[in-house]
Symmetry: C2
Subunit: 491 residues, 2 copies
């Protein structure tokens, strides 16, 4: 596991890409913009899925599955939605190939042209609301709280592993409600679920807020988002939750009989997180030595490496170590015991460090004599000698400590990269020098927002929830402003 | 939950379709041939996934994810494979829509035509073997044991919910090995995993065997399959496992350095089960009263229905029932306590019977006085009074008993529908009168197999594993035969 890749300081973007590939998380496929998620990367994604899925179910949602294909005409129904997605979608036009008359391979069979083209879902509001039309008749059918785990396709021109790929995996919640208030509450609840997950599982602190109208989801009345600061000072949108009003109900004619026996359009939300979370997880914590995976999402949390010179020594160590491994496993911790003869301990140390296993435990002949083990933390690279007694409890505490340390470190980093900025010059200077979250006054207009984006590549990431009102002057236009909003460059 | 659907005897096919829709398992979507899997159906699928996923991991496999799209040219590489799939595939030709010049909706943007068309995966051998080329260099990289949970698309002209849909969900295992023997063993191991799952979880007995050359997977040297008999006497292929030889390794040039330091092509297997299992599960056990879900795969295993006439009675019942519910949950059983006031007990009884909940427990005021509950089994529709004492243990045993009863019933049904047939007339008569598994002599030629299929719609479902050799005369051609094979009409 040679460290033949740049440091973050040398080339952050290359560091990220190399890390993803060399740590065997994912790689580019033969299909432009589509990635292969390799077993180690997928194992982390499975942990993410399992935790989120439980959170969704605990908040009353059920899973279901809707078609991959969306009839083209569905897109035209919601005006904003089509603007947002039609320009980057994969279109199925035919349903058969045939042998080329010249005998050179396969060609599309023109006799098998679809009457109406099908779009690979870039998101499923349209097909789902077309379905909900038949499911919802009365207030008794509401709320309808459904989630789907699926693949989606957005034909992005510039792609990066996990962060922006043509195909990606995600979950999309789609809920239907009898009242505006209930739908808004649902959108906020799911934002909080995402924030809870990001902070307590990924150890990634988030800013919670709403998007400016220009940055809203295509078809939403309000988009809530969580934003996280990466080590290069750029922000990553880690999750969004949308209050869709009655837009999709109107587009797909979904009405219900309310308690007053009157027909009304249904209120909607949608919310999603994707394999992009993998990008956030990797970028938020990892260092120039390789990956750092927070314990609560690590597929392997603890690895034991025996150090021996003979089969006899190996036997003695194994005899002592197996009960320790079993005890630790009993506390619900995932442990690997790597006693392979084919690789030297040094190779293993480097490998597990690079792969970001939170805790490595080394056991040699002297440890056996003394009843000790050597415990190495991946986050701080510190090593310490532990007595074997109660090792399970100690390791359990250590994993909690590492989880907390990663979160605290990320919080300090964000605090040190957060600025209150009062002039446009200062704004541009900080962006160029350090990046980070810039709290600045904005006059509330789309024009100003667009000009700032054009000139600096910074966008309004969020208007924080419960943002304090504060009179001020827009850094760009000099016009009056009622609050500071959070600007940053972003992924 | 009106039983306004035909009995199995009246119209088996309609009975199945109505059951799937009325029990809210799935429905047809707005997209031809694609289904929506509704929350109750998806909950069963999630249980299937969880059990199988653990079985795959216990046998050493890891999950990964490969692209939805396959470049058209990949299909031409393996000759048999292209024949099998090119005629029923969804083809992506463009990556953008634009507004129609006449202002009437959206049209495909001809400027956004792909250089090479992309096929939505009907199965992933090609894209995966193209990827494996870079992963496999030496025998040290083998075996490579990977599984993927994914959606696939096969443009079937006639579709039926769960049994045959244009898009379906499945898992596909793709493994690479250093030797032929190891690959064959892997294909057999996975067949046994499927059989274990079908019999011990789905309570569906299976015949294990190999397919005739004509029925093999496109690109396989040997296809192993499990086949199950449905209540209408037709066979359903519930899982397949393929020994692919070196076909895909040769098509995608995947060579490895073996222990003797020589380059050799890699040996391959692939194996899969799909949402079709849902069809088998429904058809194997359900009756004219509705679904019957085997306890081990039921999303809700036990439902409590309190019967009360006043809030006071409800309170008394709830006070007694909650500890029972909690005790049963503690033994790992999924319990629902349905104390809704909005529905009458009679409605609830009908609903849970129709939905196939294995055990219903009714508790009324007299039960509270006597310390009893009324326990109704869905499989036999029998009711019995139980003392509340040790109810958790009793219910746990009852669920096991129901699971076993369903399996035993299915085994008897299969035994009673299995025939040794020695003449073509008898063969045709039994097929028309009763269906079932017909063990008959076959001369081993594709011609005979094709003629029998054409004349009777029956195909060779499997040549059973460890089939006894038995000299005989082919029922069709009168030529010599060395063994009986299993014929049936099928889904």
């Amino acid at each position: 596991m040679a460290k033949d890749f740049p440091t973050r300081a040398e080339n952050y973007s290359q560091w990220y890409n190399d890390l993803v590939i060399k740590a065997e998380l994912a790689e580019n496929s033969a299909v432009r913009g589509c990635m292969v998620i390799k077993p180690y990367g997928y194992a982390i994604w499975e942990k993410i899925q399992a935790v989120l899925d439980k959170m969704f179910k605990d908040t009353g949602h059920s899973n279901a599955y809707f078609p991959l294909f969306i009839p083209k005409s569905f897109f035209s129904r919601e005006a904003a939605h089509v603007e947002g997605f039609a320009k980057e979608c994969a279109v199925v036009t035919h349903y058969r190939l045939k042998n080329s008359p010249d005998g050179k391979g396969l060609i599309v069979d023109e006799d098998a042209k679809l009457e109406e083209e099908l779009i690979i879902r870039p998101t499923s509001e349209t097909i789902i609301w077309d379905t909900y039309k038949n499911w919802i008749k009365s207030y008794r059918d509401l709320p309808l709280l459904i989630n789907q785990w699926a693949n989606v396709v957005r034909w992005e021109m510039r792609t990066r592993l996990f962060l922006r790929t043509a195909e990606f995996l995600w979950q999309e919640g789609h809920t239907a409600h009898a009242t505006r208030e209930e739908a808004v509450k649902e959108a906020e609840t799911m934002l909080n679920v995402y924030a809870d997950f990001a902070e307590n599982w990924m150890a990634v602190p988030v800013l919670k807020g709403t998007k400016s109208p220009a940055e809203r989801f295509a078809g939403a009345l309000e988009t809530y988002a969580i934003e996280s600061l990466m080590q290069d000072g750029k922000s990553l949108q880690t999750g969004t939750s949308h209050f869709l009003g009655q837009n999709f109900a109107k587009a797909f004619d979904v009405k219900f009989l309310n308690k007053e026996n009157q027909l009304d359009y249904v209120w909607a939300t949608s919310w999603g997180v994707s394999t992009r979370l993998m990008g956030a997880l990797i970028m938020a914590h990892s260092d120039d030595n390789g990956l750092i995976i927070p314990p609560r999402l690590a597929p392997i949390q603890v690895v034991f490496v025996p150090v021996f010179k003979s089969e006899e020594q190996k036997g003695q160590i194994t005899e002592k170590v197996i009960p320790l491994v079993n005890a630790i496993r009993k506390s619900g911790i995932t442990v690997k015991y790597d006693d392979r003869d084919t690789h030297k301990p040094g190779w293993k140390f480097a490998e597990y460090e690079f792969k970001g296993i939170p805790v490595r435990i080394t056991v040699g002949p002297r440890d056996i004599e003394q009843g000790t083990v050597e415990v190495a933390r991946r986050d701080t690279l510190e090593k310490e000698t532990y007595l074997m007694t109660d090792l399970d409890t100690k390791i359990s505490h250590l994993l909690d400590k590492i989880q907390k340390n990663l979160f605290d470190k990320a919080v300090s980093f964000r605090e040190n990269s957060t600025y209150r900025v009062d002039s446009y010059d200062e704004f541009k200077k900080i962006l160029d020098d350090k990046g980070g979250f810039l709290y600045a006054h904005w006059d509330g207009t789309a024009e100003t927002e667009a000009m700032i984006k054009e000139e600096t590549k910074a966008t309004i990431r969020v208007i924080p929830l419960d943002n304090p009102k504060e009179s001020g002057i827009c850094i760009y236009s000099g016009k009056p402003s009622v609050q500071r909003v959070v600007f940053a460059r972003s992924y």
